[in-house]
């Protein structure tokens, strides 16, 4: 495609196509979108983040990432759709326009690029990073068990061959450490949303302990609003609640760390499931998934904008 209007959002794309898309979007919208490289993956690929900003300096911000588990292709595909949606709706949709006139949005579409590349070239089922584990033939770390929040507690594996291996130490993965450094240096991120698939859930901290977080009541009612908005489009039903209550104990997960950094609105999504394909969701499901998820994202972003802290 020559531009982001002719980009095929209804299909899955390779990593190089995602990188090209990001560059095209920046070139087409120089006053709204810029690209920040927050680090490099283990195999040396850039960790690109799109910044949507109408100006100002270190404005309060919203972070969204997709694809930290590389095989969950509908998340990267939805990320592409969200990026285009933001530039299309800015100036037309009053709620999004108000948000962007006061806040910045950061969007990392290919959060685990080595893994994503590997799913296209070698193993469609790959979920982890691609760093070798010294003394073991199994590669990679689960980047959603590698954060310094209950790191190494039950709910992650010590076995490098497991899909939930937590890694040798917290933030050992450059894909994780780069986000950690960015969040800390920015210092003004108010909402952090990490997007996975495929079991239709919207979750908030914590994953490693049953002790409710301080803001549980607000996070719970906001999650309810978000999934109600999501369901209004196609009737897709979500479960919601804290990670440990709704799924299972999971230690070292992304949004537990972000919440403990003071980012109150920390959420993680599990996008839709057709019940037949799991994370091998057919491409025709991409746009409906992105559309309905967008409604929930707007609910979370709008609440953040209207409830500064």
């Amino acid at each position: 495609p020559r531009n982001t209007d002719s980009f095929d959002y209804a299909n899955y794309h390779t990593l190089s196509e995602i990188y090209s898309f990001q560059d095209m979007l920046v070139a087409e919208n120089p006053n709204l979108v810029s690209k920040i490289v927050i680090g490099q993956s283990y195999e040396g690929r850039p960790l690109n983040v799109l910044k949507f900003s109408t100006g100002g300096s270190n404005r309060p911000a919203i972070w969204i990432d997709t694809g930290i588990h590389s095989r969950e292709w509908v998340t990267q595909a939805s990320g592409l759709w969200f990026a285009k949606k933001i530039v299309t709706d800015y100036g037309k949709d009053s709620a999004l326009t108000a948000i962007l006139n006061n806040m910045d949005i950061f969007l990392e579409i290919a959060t685990n690029p080595d893994g994503y590349y590997f799913t296209h070239t070698s193993n469609r089922m790959w979920r982890k990073t691609r760093k070798p584990n010294p003394g073991n033939s199994c590669y990679g770390v689960d980047p959603n068990r590698n954060w310094d929040a209950g790191f190494g507690l039950p709910g992650a594996s010590t076995n490098p061959c497991s899909e939930t291996y937590h890694g040798p130490s917290a933030h050992s993965e450059s894909e994780v450490k780069s986000i950690v450094d960015f969040v800390k240096s920015h210092g003004n991120i108010k909402t952090f949303i990490s997007i996975h698939s495929y079991s239709q859930m919207l979750l908030y901290p914590c994953g490693y302990t049953t002790t409710p977080v301080k803001d549980q009541a607000e996070l719970h009612s906001l999650a309810e609003k978000a999934i109600t908005d999501l369901a209004s489009l196609y009737g897709t039903r979500y479960r919601y609640g804290s990670i440990i209550n709704v799924i299972y104990q999971a230690s070292g997960s992304t949004v537990d760390w972000t919440y403990e950094q003071g980012i109150k609105y920390s959420y993680t999504f599990e996008l839709r499931d057709t019940g037949s394909y799991g994370f091998l969701l057919p491409a025709k499901q991409i746009i409906p998934t992105a559309e309905e998820t967008w409604l929930a994202l707007m609910a979370l972003m709008d609440h953040t904008y209207k409830n500064p802290y």
Binding site: P1, S6, D8, A10, N11, Y12, H13, T121, S122, N123, R124, M125, S157, S162, E163, T164, Y198, S199, V246, I247, Y248, G275, S276, Y277, G278, F279, L280, P282, A283
Partner: protein, 96 residues
């Protein structure tokens, strides 16, 4: 390139706490070579696992012996992967 001919994805639904506990340990039973797509969350909530063809019969026997109900969510993973790749290729051709 790793391929997945004959791999199936089974959807297992635990009926009680005992079955839930059995499923929680599935990934640790290395001889089945399972890939847990969707893990255990609670009674009546499905668990999806990819099973390679050479352990399929043994694994199904294990499920039967513990009265664990399952259905085949994906008959042949590679068939879906081939379809996915073909869709991407044809979409790329259309764009060109």
């Amino acid at each position: 390139k790793e391929t997945f001919e004959g791999h199936q994805v089974l959807r297992i639904v635990p009926k009680n706490e005992l079955q839930l506990a059995l499923l929680k340990n599935l990934e640790e039973i290395v001889e089945f070579e399972l890939d847990v797509w969707m893990g255990v969350t609670g009674v009546s909530y499905p668990v999806d696992v990819r099973v390679p063809p050479h352990t399929l019969e043994t694994f199904k026997s294990y499920l039967d012996s513990h009265d664990l109900e399952y259905s085949t969510m994906i008959e042949d993973v590679q068939a879906i992967l081939d379809m996915e790749r073909e869709q991407m290729k044809s979409a790329a051709r259309l764009v060109q």
